[in-house]
Symmetry: C2
Subunit: 332 residues, 2 copies
């Protein structure tokens, strides 16, 4: 069905090798025949067979991307930037969604590993030892997690958290409640630690509720717990939880941004759709994706050389919107 090298070769009265060279290594072939071949190839609509090429080169020109939940608005921007960067470099992207199902993470990654040259894993909960093993089999870059023996792109929440805590204090808050993400999530630990450090530094009292799944429904549950706690300020593990909290609180007649302050993390596109809009710690999703691709392609290029796996650290900052306001008991 598809046009092959042989057909182009026949049409040009040359051998397949010449056609192959003309199209992939133009300097190696006479300028005149090359242009002729190029013309005929275009005319016939020739496109190299990935399978044939893969077989001999051992490469697939495809990278895999594993995310916990495409529906979580934090990920689409990352996916987009991964795809964009990959496309620039002539790579395709195979995406797998684990549906927040920890057990599937590894299985999916392994399945993918057979049809890709490298993997980008944004799956925070699998056992580190397994991940290290996986990283030995093929190049892997982790997003938002550090794993021994593999490159990673991580978010440094400390700056954003510090700003958030300062922000709350300047509004007169004296305590804050952390709405935790999944217990075994690497980034949950990072965020909790960053918050704890910032609180300790600035003298803000910290409580914790949870864990909650990063989903709006869980946020709603968190809202009710939050109300029975005595905190007028909350920082959520991510925007989804924060949005669920806001939605539920508003539904119950509370004024978010006046009676209670809510801060999210990720600064996903949804932050601006609610009223009040969500104050959130901005995470540079686009950079995250493209940095991950760059790191991975570096590893692919190095080949067998032992490159010390790099960690790229991305800064965060607070974006203040309407969901945070003066503490209720504080003087106006």
């Amino acid at each position: 069905m598809a046009v092959t090298l042989a057909e182009v070769a026949a049409a040009c009265n040359v051998s397949t090798s010449t056609v192959s060279r003309a199209l992939t290594d133009p300097d190696k072939v006479n300028a005149e025949t090359r242009t002729r071949i190029e013309r005929v190839a275009r005319q016939l609509g020739y496109a190299p067979s990935r399978a044939g090429r893969s077989l001999v080169s051992g490469r697939t020109d495809t990278i895999g991307l594993v995310v916990p939940d495409i529906a979580n608005p934090f990920f689409p921007p990352i996916i987009k930037s991964v795809q964009a960067r990959a496309r620039d470099k002539r790579y395709s992207v195979l995406i797998a969604d684990t549906d927040e199902h920890v057990a599937d993470e590894l299985e999916l990654a392994r399945g993918l590993s057979r049809q890709v040259d490298g993997l980008i894993l944004a799956s925070p909960r699998t056992d580190p030892a397994e991940l290290t093993r996986l990283a030995k089999q093929l190049p892997v870059v982790f997003v938002n997690r550090e794993v021994e023996g593999a490159g990673s792109v991580v978010i440094d929440e400390s700056e954003g958290m510090s700003e958030a805590v300062e922000h709350l204090m300047s509004l007169g808050h004296t305590r804050v409640c952390y709405l935790a993400g999944p217990r075994r999530s690497w980034s949950n630990q990072q965020r909790r630690d960053a918050l704890a450090a910032a609180c300790a530094e600035h003298g803000l009292e910290l409580r914790e509720l949870g864990p909650f799944e990063p989903q709006i429904q869980a946020g709603m549950r968190a809202a009710d717990l939050l109300q029975s706690a005595e905190s007028a300020a909350a920082i959520a593990y991510d925007d989804l939880i924060a949005l669920g909290v806001m939605s539920r609180l508003t539904e119950r007649g509370m004024q978010v941004g006046r009676e209670i302050s809510v801060i999210g993390i990720d600064d996903s596109p949804l932050s601006t759709v609610t009223h009040p809009m969500l104050t959130s710690i901005h995470v540079p999703a686009a950079e995250l994706g493209s940095a991950a691709v760059d790191l991975l392609l570096d590893q692919l290029r190095e080949g067998e050389d032992f490159t010390t796996p790099t960690t790229v650290r991305l800064e965060t900052r607070l974006v203040i919107r309407g969901s945070t306001g003066v503490a209720p008991t504080a003087p106006r």
Copy 2:
């Protein structure tokens, strides 16, 4: 690096053909040797090379999915269900995002067509003639669009629209404003027509604003236009526009659900995150995805037989939430 058939064969003292048969066509080989081969293969961690297999079979066991915008919350559920169904059937899914860029749609689809067995296109704006041509090259299923010579899964908005119009009338509304989607979008035309039909039937006055891109920002712009029109009810092309409208109206101090009623289409997960929650016409996204996969795999199985391309039509219904309420001038 990877374990090949030949290595398994050597370890078992049989030929590669026997190993191949043992693993793909177990009946053709002696039970005893088969179990031995299976054991050794597992031990060695053998996994068939997709490239080798593709080369001889001509199939890739991969399907392509083109969507206009992963970040649009309407699509993730579809993507998930496509992936889930495909995975059940041992297919991988290659996703491409056109970023709402019409010119890229075809190019991306063509690029994908070389590495997949079939395509699912949820890209509403490309020229029909081009799409028909594409459908001649390989099996294609269209989502939310009918194209000659290809299968499709479409949404039948009429029922949902009818319910929406009845709903508005029962609340005392006498006119409604349609916030149109992209002019060349097939589903925009479907939705507009369905709305017009429903309005004509029930005697509701219809106006139209737009077109607007299916994005929150565009919805905000729509909100301001809507305010200067004199309609107390609006039905948007999709939830994103509706959410943008709500967000902007609320920001400008209007009470959505009291002073003005807003209805979205898609019933995306976001519908429940705002306050008030968004009344929306529910579209069965999961069914949409799995139906598309089923249709495509049917086409793949049929092979060269001329199957009359099928169109699957999915019903919609109205989900009433807080964003719609009694018309302001109507008696209470």
